[in-house]
């Protein structure tokens, strides 16, 4: 064996080198090839998108008829791209153009395309189908129970899109169930929750109280995580549901003396301040100013500056020497709302000179910028 290796060493090395060279060449060609295929597919998509955009724009501008666009679409359309284009335009348009867009999206082949997508195993495909259904004027009633089920899916986009369909096409009971399912989805963002309640409000039988009533009912049930409950409280404030002020005040006073959730507490303080509920001041002074949670003390520091009561000054001064920078910052900002207070005179010897002057500078800049 050793003799054989000695005799053929050069040939063996040559074979190994040739093999490695061929392998490298193969990898290189493969990489170039896949990049080329990817580029080609991207270019093809961009071309389809551009052609479709021109066509849709001409149609909604009434430069080509419905029949004309219909004949073009049935031969060469990528419906997913068409939906994308339609959604983008839908955000900006109303009136005649929006109506034309709706009519276009109601075409039979487009409808069938998305109904097929709804049967897919891929949740993203089902989400796209739901987004399409949510924009339509009518949805097959036989599909509704299956769409309600999708609202409890883990995939946040799918659950959100399915909920949007139900808000537009479901019964009052189905709407409530869809929202309740959706609220249990941990991946749902704050913005998505606001969108859902804005949509619910727009479609509600009780135009002024629908969203607020449902949110209060769900908070009262207490079956959601603290994080989600806090988000629901903030939604009440962000959507300006002033009718929930008394309910939130009650929840604020129900907070235990110890062991309260800081996220819920902060949300309650922020929203009650927004609603101008000065009844909370006393408890802010007596309890929450000394909270062990810095986010709660920060909310208190902000709140007291908005109510701007004289009796809050000592508490704000107390917060001005808090261990947390943001609490100190908001306490100082709040104190700057009192015309009789000169912040420069409030600096104590143990405060860092540089930090305090930077803090005053930031407050000054904030006020000049109108923030």
């Amino acid at each position: 064996m050793i003799d054989y290796l000695n005799t053929h060493a050069e040939q063996i090395v040559l074979i190994v080198v040739i093999f490695l060279a061929l392998f490298s060449l193969l990898v290189f060609v493969g990489a170039i090839g896949s990049r080329w295929l990817l580029n080609r597919s991207e270019k093809r998509k961009a071309r389809i998108r551009s052609d479709l955009s021109n066509l849709v724009i001409q149609y909604i501008s009434n430069d080509i008829s419905f029949e004309e666009i219909k004949s073009e679409l049935t031969t060469k359309t990528d419906y997913a791209i068409l939906l994308q284009i339609s959604n983008e335009l839908d955000r900006s348009l109303e009136g005649e153009e929006a109506e034309r867009l709706k009519r276009l999206m109601n075409l039979q082949p487009i409808r069938s395309y998305f109904e097929d997508r709804f049967e897919s195993n891929n949740p993203l495909e089902r989400a796209k189908a739901c987004l399409y259904f949510s924009k339509k004027t009518n949805v097959k009633q036989t599909l509704i129970p299956a769409i309600v089920k999708q609202t409890s899916e883990e995939h946040p986009m799918l659950a959100y899109a399915a909920c949007m369909v139900i808000l537009n096409h479901g019964s009052e009971e189905q709407k409530k169930l869809a929202i309740e399912n959706l609220l249990q989805n941990d991946g749902l963002s704050n913005q998505a929750l606001n969108d859902i309640f804005a949509e619910f409000q727009a479609n509600s039988a009780h135009e002024d109280t629908g969203g607020a009533g449902l949110l209060m009912e769900l908070i009262e049930k207490g079956k959601f995580t603290d994080h989600r409950t806090a988000l629901m409280i903030r939604t009440l404030g962000e959507l300006g549901y002033f009718q929930s002020a008394d309910f939130l005040l009650e929840k604020f006073f129900e907070l235990p003396k110890t062991g309260y959730d800081p996220e819920i507490t902060t949300a309650l303080i922020d929203i009650l301040v927004k609603f101008g509920m000065a009844e909370i001041i006393d408890r802010l002074h007596k309890q929450f100013v000394q909270s062990k949670h810095s986010e709660v003390r920060e909310a208190v520091a902000k709140a007291l500056g908005i109510f701007c009561k004289e009796e809050s000054i000592p508490f704000l001064k107390w917060l001005l020497v808090d261990q947390d920078f943001y609490v100190r910052f908001h306490a100082a900002t709040s104190l700057s709302n009192y015309p009789e207070i000169d912040l420069r005179k409030l600096k104590t010897p143990d405060m860092d000179d540089k930090e305090y002057s930077e803090l005053l500078g930031e407050i000054e800049a904030g006020k000049e910028g109108g923030y």
């Binding site: 983008e88 335009l89 900006s92 348009l93 109303e94 009136g95």
Partner: protein, 125 residues
């Protein structure tokens, strides 16, 4: 003004394409910028008669563009008419836009005919 030089600063591709299409069909000379930085550069280079300016833009907001033009001593910002376009409808935004020199504020979603009517009115002022 029958034929004007109009710059559309809008990051939403389809909205921009639709506006540009309608403006071109009315005979205006148009340009498009997709973000705030490109928009500010094109305002100075293209020197348009009118700018359709979205508020929420990547890079620089519509307000920042107006503020920078206002603060630039080498630029005659008074010669350019501006229509603000935005999803925001709050009073503060509207007044902020007007204070910075915008002549019209069109909230999205909008009706295209109404938008063109406002644009014509601004061009004729």
């Amino acid at each position: 003004m029958n034929q004007a030089r109009i710059l559309v600063v809008e990051d939403e591709e389809m909205t921009a394409r639709l506006i540009l299409y309608r403006l071109k069909s009315l005979g205006h000379e148009t340009r498009h910028a997709k973000d705030g930085v490109e928009g500010l550069k094109m305002i100075k280079e293209f020197n348009p008669d009118l700018v359709v300016l979205d508020v929420m833009l990547p890079g620089k907001s519509g307000f920042e563009i107006l503020q920078e033009l206002h603060d630039d001593p080498g630029f005659e910002s008074g010669n350019i008419r501006v229509i603000m376009l935005s999803n925001k409808k709050s009073v503060e935004d509207v007044s902020r836009g007007f204070n910075l020199g915008a002549m019209e504020y069109v909230p999205k979603p909008f009706k295209m005919d109404e938008f063109l009517l406002r644009l014509k009115r601004v061009l004729n002022q």
